[in-house]
């Protein structure tokens, strides 16, 4: 077997890019972008993750089977988070039927 040897300068380049993105995400946190702060922070984190996965974890050079397994993992993570949040965030959308208000039973403090 002849392994795919990645040049050292590629690894160092990825390392420098990851450091720059860390600085960027830290700096942006001190700028008021409103709700965009979260979006930008997550976008930078995803970019960093892709750099690590593709180069440090050698997925750029891996087989299609491995890639499908990884994608399936992230698909399930997306299902976990999206379905959970879609439940929590939409509970207030529908009015409570009369008689369902359980405020006198619940809320033990």
């Amino acid at each position: 077997m002849s392994p795919h040897v990645v040049p050292v300068r590629v690894y160092v380049g990825i390392f420098v890019a990851l450091l720059l993105l860390t600085g960027l995400t830290t700096g942006v946190a001190f700028v008021d972008l409103g709700a965009l702060n979260t979006v930008v922070a997550l976008a930078i984190a995803v970019a960093k993750m892709l750099l690590v996965i593709l180069f440090f974890m050698h997925v750029r050079y891996s087989s299609g089977l491995t890639r499908i397994v990884i994608l399936a993992g992230f698909l399930w993570l997306a299902i976990l988070i999206t379905l959970t949040l879609s439940d929590v965030w939409t509970r207030q959308w529908t009015p409570r039927p009369s008689g369902w208000d359980s405020s006198e039973i619940v809320t033990p403090r």
């Binding site: 946190a29 960093k48 993992g73 399930w76 988070i81």
Partner: protein, 231 residues
């Protein structure tokens, strides 16, 4: 059948090859795939915490914001850099195995362990010990005077569980690296066979990725600008 037997007799059997694999490439691929399947379970393991975090952050954002401001961004950012550095040395250790450089393998593995230990050192001594003295550890005399106190406490529950689970993975990783360093020093890895290094590297980089998300989600929650500093 005789043809196959003749072929087998002609080609030298690679020392690292297990008999149930056709060749070293297939063996490497199988090990790699198996590790990824494990990492997918890890993604979902941490994913449950991230989903819970997303729910409570969206419900109690002001409390999470106030809690995040109590963390020191400088330590979080420094630790991110330390972990990224350890990922670089891990990748270089595997490269050293691919090029058959035993001494470089050992050097880079020890560097990786030292950076991992530095991360845990910063985390435990500068951050957790400080949080404990400031009464920010839920269940251990948590006290917070400001508004949204119960939500700030919830934030710190997430903070300690997420960083704690991450730190546990780091400790396991350093244990694995210790074994690998001994094996590498004994010359167990070659360009033909370095699967233990490769899959352990996958684990180490995975733990790095978890931190890449924990850093902005815990330390950089919106509203940092209102303070103008990370105090």
């Amino acid at each position: 059948m005789t043809e196959l037997a003749a072929q087998g007799a002609q080609t030298a059997h690679p020392p690292g090859l297990r008999h149930h694999f056709d060749d070293m490439t297939q063996q490497f691929e199988a090990g790699n795939l198996g590790m990824w399947v494990f990492l997918v379970t890890e993604i979902l393991f941490f994913g449950g915490l991230f989903a819970g975090y997303a729910i409570y952050r969206s419900l109690y954002f002001p409390g999470f914001e106030a809690g995040s401001r109590l963390l020191d961004v400088r330590f979080g950012a420094a630790n991110t850099a330390v972990l990224i550095g350890s990922s670089l040395t891990m990748a270089l250790a595997i490269r050293a195995a691919q090029t058959g450089n035993r001494k470089a393998q050992v050097t880079y593995l020890i560097l990786t362990m030292m950076l991992g230990a530095a991360f845990l050192g910063i985390k435990f001594t500068f951050e957790w010990a400080h949080d404990f003295r400031e009464h920010l550890v839920p269940g251990f005399g948590f006290a917070y005077d400001g508004p949204y106190a119960s939500n700030v406490q919830l934030f710190f529950c997430f903070y300690f569980f997420m960083t704690g689970l991450h730190a546990l993975h780091m400790i396991v990783g350093i244990g694995i690296l210790t074994v690998l360093t001994v094996l590498a020093a004994r010359g167990r890895f070659s360009p033909e066979y370095y699967t233990p290094l490769e899959v352990s590297g996958l684990y180490w980089h995975f733990v790095d990725i978890v931190w890449i998300f924990l850093f902005p989600l815990l330390y950089l929650i919106g509203g940092r600008y209102a303070l103008g500093g990370g105090h």
